[in-house]
């Protein structure tokens, strides 16, 4: 274990990672006039995938109508390109840091199977909530926080509250 750890590149100190991230946010506003996002692309992909397998049903869902514009190139979207970049950047980062590997990230006292179920459940809650809040940690907290959007700051406080409260109930999953 010790030797494996030693071969890995250390994490960046929080403040440097944060300043780097801040510069990326500035560049994003300077170039595109909008913020970064994490969940919007997945929402769009879900709508388009549903449209492929159940066209009529997808078109009957009022919420998804926003994704089915004229022209049909529905995945030709700024956030989709950006999230694709996030994946590639993460992949490049993990490989160059020696952190890439097929693993399951979990607490010490649960099985892989349990972890997968709770990951699915937590993802479901997050995906649902991100539509409710109109954005996630990237779109609301980081981007909205950076532009001092009032509702985004309220969102941020609420998200931290939700995390601390729920942690108490799921402590056996992680500790």
């Amino acid at each position: 274990m010790e030797t494996v750890e030693n071969r890995r590149l250390a994490y960046w100190p929080n403040i440097w990672a944060g300043i780097g991230l801040g510069l990326v946010i500035i560049a994003t506003y300077y170039i595109a006039g909008r913020g970064l996002g994490g969940s919007g692309a997945l929402s769009r992909a879900t709508a388009v995938a549903l449209h492929t397998v159940a066209t009529e049903h997808a078109e009957n869902l009022g919420y998804f109508a926003r994704y089915f514009g004229e022209g049909g190139a529905w995945m030709n979207d700024w956030l989709v390109f950006q999230v694709f970049g996030v994946f590639l950047g993460g992949l490049f980062g993990a490989i160059t840091a020696g952190r890439f590997g097929k693993t399951v990230d979990k607490g010490p006292n649960i099985t892989n199977g349990q972890r997968f179920w709770y990951a699915f459940l937590g993802g479901g809650v997050m995906g649902w909530g991100a539509r409710l809040a109109r954005g996630c940690t990237s779109g609301q907290a980081l981007s909205g926080g950076a532009t001092l959007a009032a509702g985004s700051w309220a969102f941020m406080l609420a998200m931290f509250a939700g995390g601390f409260i729920m942690a108490y109930f799921v402590r056996k999953l992680w500790l």
Binding site: G89, R134, A158, L173
Partner: protein
């Protein structure tokens, strides 16, 4: 003269804007990985108070970006009026935030970091992403029940400066102050909590 946002001032084409979206995303993903945010266990320790990296990275990013964006605007290098600022809907943003914090603690990631987790080879991140997609689908299915709630507490394009009726630079320095006090508080709490366990 305001030449930015470049895409909105017509200085770059839509295609170039798309390519740059990928480049910016790449930098975003790389930094998240280097911050250690491809690991659910590390992220979740924020919610147990044992590792405040999420808070520290987030707040140093926000402080950097707030001052950077305001400076660009002040020197007329970028028009803040042309920048999209999230609209405020108090009810849905507060409710959504609470729900998402819960989802974060259960599942271990937020949407952006789950893509970095998957890219790092984490199988649990894949289940998390499938779950998110399922959550979106459920949301779309129950949309008629939620639609009314979504527009409650609507305040439009409202910034903290507008909300409190103060100059935006005052807000910026308060944010800086919150970050400094928050860093000190986070470091203190972290040491206390880790000493106990």
């Amino acid at each position: 003269m305001d030449i930015a946002p470049l895409a909105k001032m017509g200085l770059i084409s839509a295609d170039v804007n798309m390519i740059l979206a990928g480049v910016l995303g790449f930098a975003f993903g790389l930094i998240l990985e280097r911050a250690g945010f491809g690991s659910a266990h590390r992220l979740v320790m924020q919610w147990f108070g044992r590792d405040w990296s999420v808070f520290r990275v987030m707040f140093s990013a926000i402080v950097t970006a707030v001052f950077g964006i305001l400076t660009l605007d002040a020197f007329d290098l970028m028009s803040l009026d042309a920048v999209y600022i999230n609209k405020t809907y108090w009810n849905s943003q507060i409710a959504g935030g609470l729900v998402m914090g819960a989802g974060f603690a259960i599942g271990g990631y937020c949407p952006g970091t789950s893509f970095v987790g998957l890219a790092s080879g984490k199988i649990d991140a894949l289940f998390y992403i499938i779950g998110m997609s399922f959550g979106v689908l459920v949301f779309a299915e129950v949309w008629p029940l939620i639609e009314g709630f979504m527009s409650l507490g609507s305040a439009g394009r409202l910034t903290l400066a507008g909300l409190f009726g103060v100059n935006v630079w005052i807000v910026a320095f308060v944010v800086l102050l919150i970050a400094i006090v928050g860093f000190w508080g986070a470091n203190t709490l972290e040491q206390k909590i880790n000493a106990k366990t």
